[in-house]
């Protein structure tokens, strides 16, 4: 009976994994395809990777994307940490419930709406103050920071909630003023959460197509935008190669985030 159920479980899990990952594996395999036709197998080759790196349009879009992902992940980590800290450590203040709502709203907001509303904001700001002048890297960074901030805030807040508050009391008792308390005790203890929040933000920003499409300007296409426009004209094996590289990058970031979150649990038993 027990044997049977465990076999059934394995079959179900296997089916689930096949369903999730078979398309990705097919894509990776076809990125090494010699043939010019995406659907016809013509033997192994690295030719499309070489082509990819020669393609100026894709390379410059990749650079733009990485730059945007790096800056917005960093800004989101700083602002998100502050938001998470305020939400979990400050005593009740007027508007706290509203702040909680505001910080977490981008998690559930449809991207189309976020993108459209940000576009409207940027256009009217430009009309009124002349800033931001046009749309480009700056506007995409601002847009990505706003929605990535929500993820960092949630991760940091949950870490702070599980953090023993007596640690902070002990530090104060030993003479630490609030600033040194934050930098010497609180920050090192929530650092894993901040780092994994950063990695999460980085991948979210790298993957985003919808919001970036709304708020980017001419000549500042991000990688997902270039891929999307290419695919509309027909899939080339080059795109498979690019997608494979992106999958590898994102997987590394996500796995690193998981590993870091896991390692922080190591410390949790220290005072039990």
């Amino acid at each position: 009976m027990k044997q049977g159920s465990s076999v059934a479980l394995k079959v179900m899990a296997g089916a689930g994994f096949v369903f999730l990952y078979a398309p990705i594996i097919a894509l990776i395999v076809y990125s090494f395809n010699e043939s010019k036709l995406v659907t016809v197998w013509g033997g192994w080759s690295l030719k499309w990777y070489v082509e990819l790196f020669r393609n100026e349009q894709i390379m410059s879009a990749a650079w733009v994307s990485l730059k945007i992902a790096f800056i917005s992940a960093t800004m989101a980590s700083i602002l998100g940490t502050l938001a998470g800290f305020v939400l979990s450590r400050m005593r009740k203040f007027a508007g706290k419930a509203m702040l909680t709502g505001w910080v977490t709203a981008p998690l559930v907001m449809p991207e189309v709406i976020t993108g459209l509303s940000l576009l409207l904001l940027f256009v009217s700001l430009e009309n009124m103050f002349g800033w931001p002048a046009g749309r480009g890297v700056t506007t995409i960074v601002i847009a990505h920071t706003t929605f990535c901030l929500a993820y960092v805030a949630v991760v940091v807040q949950s870490r702070l909630a599980s953090l023993d508050e007596t640690l902070e009391e002990a530090a104060m008792d030993l003479g630490a003023k609030p600033t040194s308390l934050f930098f010497l005790i609180t920050l090192p203890l929530i650092a894993p959460a901040i780092i994994s929040g950063w990695l999460l933000s980085f991948t979210l920003s790298l993957d985003d197509l919808v919001i970036a499409s709304f708020v980017s300007g001419p000549g500042n296409s991000t990688l997902p935008m270039v891929i999307f426009s290419k695919v509309r004209l027909g899939v080339t094996p080059e795109v498979n190669a690019l997608a494979t590289l992106m999958i590898v990058t994102v997987s590394i970031a996500v796995i690193a985030a998981i590993v870091i979150m896991h390692r922080q649990n190591r410390f949790k038993d220290a005072n039990k």
């Binding site: 023993d164 007596t166 640690l167 009391e169 002990a170 530090a171 104060m172 008792d173 030993l174 003479g175 630490a176 003023k177 040194s180 010497l184 005790i185 090192p188 203890l189 190591r266 410390f267 949790k268 038993d269 220290a270 005072n271 039990k272």
Partner: protein
């Protein structure tokens, strides 16, 4: 030991400070009240604690003892009243500026810092030179016998070792006052006993005033110079350990500390050196060897500790402080035995007897008819 200037030697022979009339208290708690919303955690508590005392706040959960301790450390501001430490009003002074350190129940060791860095944390905040910091850290770690573990992280230590790191960390700043929140709570029984004596030794050597919060009466009895028993936010009695045990001031203290038999009675005669009471619980009269100056026919409770009652099969010829009953239960505990005796009135009382003899033959046992008696100076009359 050079790290701690021996400010004063502990006076064990002379009269304790708290019994001297003109002694100046070191910690003055003046009508402290703490409310959390509608709930009153500490209710107008006043308390004086003297230098070099090891004062125990003893009470059950929710008695307000921890809240009182947190107000001393500065983590909670009192709703009303004030606290003076060494004559200085602590109102509005944040925790990091108080001459007080605390040892937390959970130890609250910083998990990302080594043992050494944990202990050094407080000294570095004072801006001491690193040579001085290292010297004092090494000294205190030697004192709690942890010098060899200085580089370890807290999660690599056993419970007893963590407890000693926490103690070292709270002592290294040489506070005027050390607060200990259930310091032995997380240790097993054997380790607890060792640590109790360790704590007393350190307190003796360092001459720091200790305030210990505990729910464990045995711990309070062994450690304390004086005990403050708390119930529902009030201090119900403040006295030396033997006084709390032998002369409880009210029913709560009598029942909370140790075991006790309580007889309900009515005063029939209240003289200067003797008081007699009638009780439906026992056969004869109850008598104590002092006056209690109360109204005639006052209803009182008389408390007698289980070990102060004599138990025997031989009839005794006594009119007062004596009764008869039948043994309803016996528990052999090795060094002593506990008897439960059902009196003629139906009331069941508890008696403990040391097992002086090794022989089992003539022992009192189930259903034995026994005669009980006690001395007039062994019982306490409780009006409240």
């Amino acid at each position: 030991m050079s790290a701690f200037p021996n400010t004063s030697t502990v006076q064990t022979q002379s009269v304790p400070t708290w019994r001297q009339k003109d002694a100046k208290p070191f910690v003055q708690i003046e009508q402290i009240t703490k409310q959390f919303g509608q709930f009153t955690a500490v209710n107008s508590v006043s308390l004086d604690i003297y230098r070099n005392e090891l004062f125990c706040l003893l009470g059950g959960s929710g008695s307000g003892k921890s809240t009182l301790l947190r107000m001393l450390a500065g983590f909670e501001e009192p709703t009303s009243g004030r606290i003076l430490i060494d004559g200085v009003d602590m109102t509005g002074i944040p925790p990091w500026e108080r001459p007080v350190n605390m040892m937390f129940q959970s130890y609250a060791l910083f998990p990302h810092l080594s043992v050494e860095a944990n202990v050094a944390f407080g000294l570095k905040r004072e801006g001491l030179k690193s040579a001085e910091v290292n010297k004092r850290v090494a000294e205190i770690l030697g004192m709690v016998q942890l010098g060899h573990l200085a580089k370890r992280k807290p999660h690599m230590l056993s419970g007893g070792q963590r407890q000693r790191v926490a103690l070292a960390r709270s002592l290294v700043k040489r506070p005027k006052l050390l607060l200990l929140d259930e310091p032995l709570g997380a240790l097993d029984k054997k380790l607890r006993e060792e640590t109790q004596f360790e704590l007393m030794r350190l307190q003796d050597e360092l001459g720091i005033t200790f305030i210990v919060v505990t729910h464990d009466q045995e711990e309070a009895m062994t450690l304390a110079t004086r005990i403050g028993v708390m119930n529902n936010g009030d201090i119900v009695q403040t006295a030396e350990p033997h006084e709390v045990y032998e002369y409880p001031q009210n029913r709560f203290v009598a029942e909370f500390i140790g075991n006790v038999n309580l007889f309900d009675g009515t005063v029939i005669d209240d003289e200067r050196d003797t008081t007699s009471m009638r009780s439906a619980d026992i056969d004869g009269l109850l008598q104590v060897d002092h006056g209690i100056s109360c109204a005639p026919n006052q209803d009182v409770s008389v408390a007698i500790r289980p070990e102060k009652i004599r138990i025997s099969r031989e009839p005794i010829d006594l009119e007062v402080n004596a009764t008869t009953g039948v043994i309803s239960d016996v528990a052999y505990m090795g060094s002593q035995s506990i008897f439960k005796v059902r009196l003629n009135s139906g009331k069941e009382i508890r008696i403990t007897q040391p097992n002086v003899s090794r022989e089992m033959g003539n022992r009192l046992t189930w259903e034995d008819r026994v005669f009980l008696s006690w001395d007039a100076d062994s019982c306490v009359v409780l009006v409240a």
